[in-house]
Amino acid sequence: MKQHGKTFIYTRRIIVVAAVLLVYIWAFAGLPLLELKETSGEIVSAIFSGLFQPDWGYVYDPGGEDLLRGLLDTLAIALLGTFIASVLCIPFSFMASKNIAKTKTMVGSSKFVLSFIRVFPDIVLALLFIKAVGPGAFAGVLALGIGAVGMLGKLISESVEGIDLSAREALIATGGNPVKTFMFAIVPQVLPNFFSFVLYRFEVNLRAATILGVIGAGGIGTPLIFALSVRDWGRVGIILLGIIVMVTLIDAISGKIRARLV
């Protein structure tokens, strides 16, 4: 019997390894041959020299568009988008929780809406909103605001499903109406996780917001794509530096806060 089980495990392993190998072979076979143009080397060295000699003058320019303004815009898009998502996800989180929602249909349909939203990458949503409300930061805010509902709703509803409902009974017994019962027996159990997930999503949204400008949805991505298209490597360099500093800084702060929450 034991011998049998071992053979089975080995066969299964061999099959898995073989399958993975096949996929790799198939994937690489489809790649066009890498060809280096004569200019490739030049461009790479130009990029590097730009990155190491960033255009410091772009950081702050009282007259026009500058790095700080671009970064601030990006931060604002991420903040607003996360805020909108954090509000929108609340009803879905509870309606998708088996222990709170009244009917299975409600749980099922809410879960469906949440996974439907999760299907769309932020970029696709942004493209849709650009069509709907025109290019600019507003489209970016909407894309992040709607896009994050899927993930936040799923995570929060999972945490709601794990809470202890016995206190709810106690609050009903003291004469609390459903709203009071909810505020006292449910909210304190969900709040720390809620804030932690929202902060985490804010970190994700900030990264997404830096890209959104590339397709015209506001933020630092727009000057980045312009600088790239005119091969202004010094400017590309300073913008990338700016993004790195901002993202690292926000991650560090948000991570510290999250560690204290849970």
């Binding site: 206190a167 609050l171 003291t174 004469g175 609390g176 709203v179 006292f184 304190p188």
Partner: protein
């Protein structure tokens, strides 16, 4: 005062939880409800504040029908009835103070409670309630940092802060050891005497029931098979309620 008027309860699956219960509990009584597992003790208790709906008859609290009450009227009647659970049912993440204060939610507007704004008098009241169960120094600890016995006393303080006139306790000591059982039962007895609060307590241990009760109600398959002062609840009566001689494990021993 709690009155049962021909109360029956049939669960949706057909189980008879209560069968034609007709009795009255006067203010200040210390009633202990006994019976085998499944006899309907929890059903009896939970029908009083309508955590369970009854299917026949009527229950009156201080003369008012809780059975017919709806909406805010129901909430107001429930406010007069404190409840203590076997598993304490505290909000474990919240502070002891906040748990005790949650007994006050029935006294304030929903909007006020959404923001958790309790008046100063409520906080003083909650503190006095904690003093009554000898735990004022634990007020700002988290509920889940306390021992089982301490958590149960917090839940008693919650019922006190509620300024209820009756307290229902469903197996309040079933998850406690003999030492803490004595503390918790002594608390209930003291509150019953000093504040004249009615106690209706489901208990498993016969000796604990005899020590604290003024009146015993025996349930069997949803029916009241004994109802009388504790002096009349002899061993024979208990064997009748249980349908067999009293077992060793129905005696706690040390309490």
């Amino acid at each position: 005062m709690i009155e049962f008027k021909n109360v029956s309860k049939v669960y949706p699956n057909g189980t008879r939880g209560l069968n034609n219960v007709d009795l009255r509990v006067d203010d200040g009584e210390f009633v202990v409800v006994v019976g085998l597992s499944g006899a309907g003790k929890s059903t009896f208790l939970r029908s009083i504040n309508r955590l369970h709906e009854i299917t026949e008859g009527e229950i009156l609290i201080n003369g008012e029908s809780i059975t017919k009450a709806g909406g805010s009227e129901l909430y107001r009647i429930r406010r007069d009835i404190g409840m203590i659970f076997q598993n304490f049912n505290l909000v474990r993440r919240s502070s002891v103070m906040r748990n005790v204060l949650s007994g006050r939610v029935g006294y304030h507007s929903t909007l006020r409670m959404i923001f958790g704004l309790f008046p100063k008098e409520d906080k003083e009241l909650a503190m006095r309630a904690l003093e009554r169960v000898n735990m004022p120094e634990k007020a700002y600890m988290r509920a889940d940092e306390l021992s089982g016995g301490q958590q149960q006393r917090v839940s008693i303080a919650r019922a006190l802060a509620q300024e209820a006139t009756q307290i229902l306790a469903d197996e309040p000591v079933a998850s406690l050891d003999p030492m803490t059982t004595k503390q918790v039962m002594d608390d209930l007895a003291r509150i019953n005497k000093e504040l004249n609060m009615t106690m209706i307590v489901n208990l498993h241990f016969i000796d604990v029931a005899r020590k604290y009760a003024t009146r015993i109600i025996g349930l069997k398959e949803g029916e009241v098979v004994f109802d009388g002062p504790v002096e009349e609840a002899t061993d024979d009566v208990f064997s009748e309620i249980y349908g067999r001689p009293v077992n060793e494990d129905e005696l706690m021993g040390e309490a």
